[in-house]
Structures are given as C-alpha cells and as structure tokens.
Subunit: 199 residues, 2 copies
DNA sequence: CGGGATTTTGTGCGTCCGGTCAAAAAGTCG
DNA sequence: CGACTTTTTGACCGGACGCACAAAATCCCG
C-alpha cells in the first residue's frame, strides 16, 4: 500500500460514526447526501472518495452498528446468570440513549430498520442483515445451552428455538417502540417471556 | 352532495387495493408516483384528484391493510381454543401469499414496514400504527382473558402482558422473515412461545 | 527540493421526483 | 338543448437527487 499522497483531513472512523447517527435516526432514504455533507463538515467529493456511494456508506454504518451491538451482547452474556442478562437485552434493545445526540435521537434497531427499508431490494443489505441475525441467534443459543445445562433455563424447547424467539421479540420490541409504547406493559411482556424460559 | 359531473372512469376501491400491493411490496419511498400511475393505469392528475397526495394515498392503503387484517384476526379468535388460532396468527403473520401477485410478492407486515419507514417523521403514520397496535393487543388480550378463565392459558402473566408479547413476536417475525429465515426454526420458536402460554 | 501520489474542493450534469394546471371530455339537470 | 359540475388528460414545473470531474492543495519519498 502506498503511504504517500495528501493525508485525509478528517477522521474516517469519526465520520462513519456520525453518519451512523444520521442514518440511524432518519433512515436511508430520508438521509440525503447533502445532509451527510452538512453534518460531517466535509465536501461531497471527499465523501465519495472515502466511502464510495451512499449505499456503501450506509452499509458500512450498519456494519459498524452491528459490530458494536455484538460486542455488547457477548459481554453481557459471557458470565453470570443468563436470564437477567437477556432481560436487559430485551428491555433496552438498542441502548439508544448512549447514542443520543443533537442530530436527533435514533430510534429502534438499525438492523430492523434496514430490514424494513432496504432488504427487499438490496442483496447486499440482505446479506448484512441475515448475517447479523445468524450471529445473534448463535450467540444467544450458546448462552442458553449453557444455562439449560446449569438448570437455569427450561429444556422444554431447544436453545436454537428459544434464541430465535428472542430474536423475534427483540426485533419486534425495537420496532413497536418507535410508535410509542407503554413502558410498564412492555416490561411486563418481557418479564413474561423471561419467566417462561425459567426452568 | 351534487350528483352531477363526469363520472370516474376507474374503480376507486380497486385502485386502492392495487396501490396497497405496490406499497406493500416496495415500501413508501421506493414506490414512485409514476410506478402507481403505471400499475393503476390511470393518469397522474386522476390519482391526485381521487386520493390527494402520495402520503395520504399511502396512509389510506395502510388503513385498508389493517382493516383487512383486523377482520381476519377477530374471526380467527372468536371461537374455539385460542392457542391454536394464535399459533396460526404467528406462523402466518401477514398471510402474504393471498396477496401475492405479479407486481411482486409483498413481504412482512405493512404496519411494521410503516413503523420503520414513516413513523419517526410522520405524525399521521404514527397515529395509524399506534391505533393498530392498540387494537391488536386489545383483541388478543380479550381472547387470552377468556382462555385464562377456561384454563387453556396460564395465569402466570396478565392477558395484557401476554398480548403485548405476542405483538412483539408477530412484528419481529414479520420483520425478520423479510431477510429470509429457516422455516423450521421459526416454527419451533413459535411453538416454544405457544407452549409457554399453555396452562 | 522536486516528482509522484492522493485527497480536497467546488462546480456542474442528467435524471427523476412529487405535485400543479389548463383545456378537453363526459356526464347531470333544468 | 344548453348551462353546470366533475373527471380526464398530458404537458409542465422547480427542486433535489446521486454522482462525476478537473484543478488545486498537501504530503511522502528519493
């Protein structure tokens, strides 16, 4: 790799993070290239040079979102009882508040948003989303398998089926929450599910 | 109301149904007015004259979608054991195949799609979606209350919490299914949930 | 210090978008 | 039959979109 040439005047990672916030809060279609140019304080050409076109930029942001989420998920489940950790994962699906900023509070799970908006017509998006789903279920199923062996979780269903159910629930919760929901009822629903998983 | 004037040359209800299919399969943003004009075989001005702008047209289509869905939901739950009916509701969230046509197979639940794409920036869409959620949970909770009294469903959680959990699951399932999912695992997850609700 | 490589900057392009409008057509009713 | 009302038709608008490009700027390396 050539190490010569004019150096980039902006931090690529930071730009991607800011773009993630914009894309997350507004969605793909509703975020124009001009919006990105304004929010990232760089010129049109620089953006295209660094990230390719808008679609690739978005997909890179989604990948960053998932990588961050996966890291937290693994950490949350790596030791201790599984059910309380899963309860947290469900109750706080996207940990949205940690990303809140002046560009508007992101809402819902970005994987879910991408599923709804891009997947039907974009094979690349479909792959990113499908991979994220697969990793989620795999990580959760592994944890549930341990927990079943420990007697913490019921063996009435396979860990795979339970993990799939948790994926549905977390995606549904993230989605429904965008339209506003009663927190108490939502938490009661989460508790009902967690209780049902208990051995 | 004046009963005079040139009569409309197309069936308004049928046009709305076709528009529903288009919007359902492609989403709001990805469906252009031109797409609608082509698919509905009418002129631009006629469309605007009959339905107002694109946004109102879409919202009318969503309302039609929900009305249809609600009718089926009520029918499915009105008598007989509740859990098998709920299992069907979950396993076949949007009864997509009945609407399949040449314009492309619709995917996912249109309420969910609307939630993801429009709700954050459209108060009217938010209201339609929130109302649909409320009606779903109310209808399902009523059925679960009966089933709890009959000893069919566990009383470990309130009917409201159980209904909310079912809303999350059906929305999540519809969404995740757009990215493709393994049918067997998905059905196992549904069964796990239904079993957990059993008394 | 100079040549090559790379990024920045700003402008410009073609396209498609949602939406409007005026005139013609097709009915109803007195 | 003629005035009135509504819909149809098809052209048209301004604007935003994604994207490309050429020239200037900046840094590395010899």
């Amino acid at each position: 790799m050539a190490r010569t040439g004019r150096p980039r005047a902006f931090d690529k990672d930071q730009a991607l993070e800011r773009a993630l916030l914009l894309f997350w809060s507004r969605g793909y279609g509703a975020t124009s290239v001009q919006d990105l140019v304004d929010a990232l304080a760089l010129e049109r050409g620089s953006l295209y040079g660094a990230f390719g076109d808008k679609r690739h930029f978005y997909l890179a942001a989604v990948q960053l979102y998932w990588d961050t989420y996966e890291r937290r998920l693994v950490t949350a489940l790596e030791d201790g009882p599984v059910l309380p950790a899963l309860r947290e994962v469900l109750a706080n699906p996207a940990r949205a508040q940690e990303y809140a900023s002046d560009v508007g509070v992101p809402q819902g799970c970005m994987i879910g948003n991408t599923t709804a908006e891009l997947v039907p017509q974009d094979a690349d998006a479909r792959e990113v989303v499908a991979r994220s789903h697969a990793r989620f279920t795999q990580i959760v199923a592994d944890a549930l398998r341990r927990a079943q062996a420990d007697g913490e979780v019921t063996q009435d269903a396979t860990p795979e089926a339970q993990a799939q159910l948790l994926l549905f629930t977390v995606q549904g919760l993230s989605l429904v929450s965008r339209a506003g929901l009663d927190t108490a009822t939502a938490l009661a629903a989460v508790d009902a599910l967690i209780d049902a998983l208990r051995a």
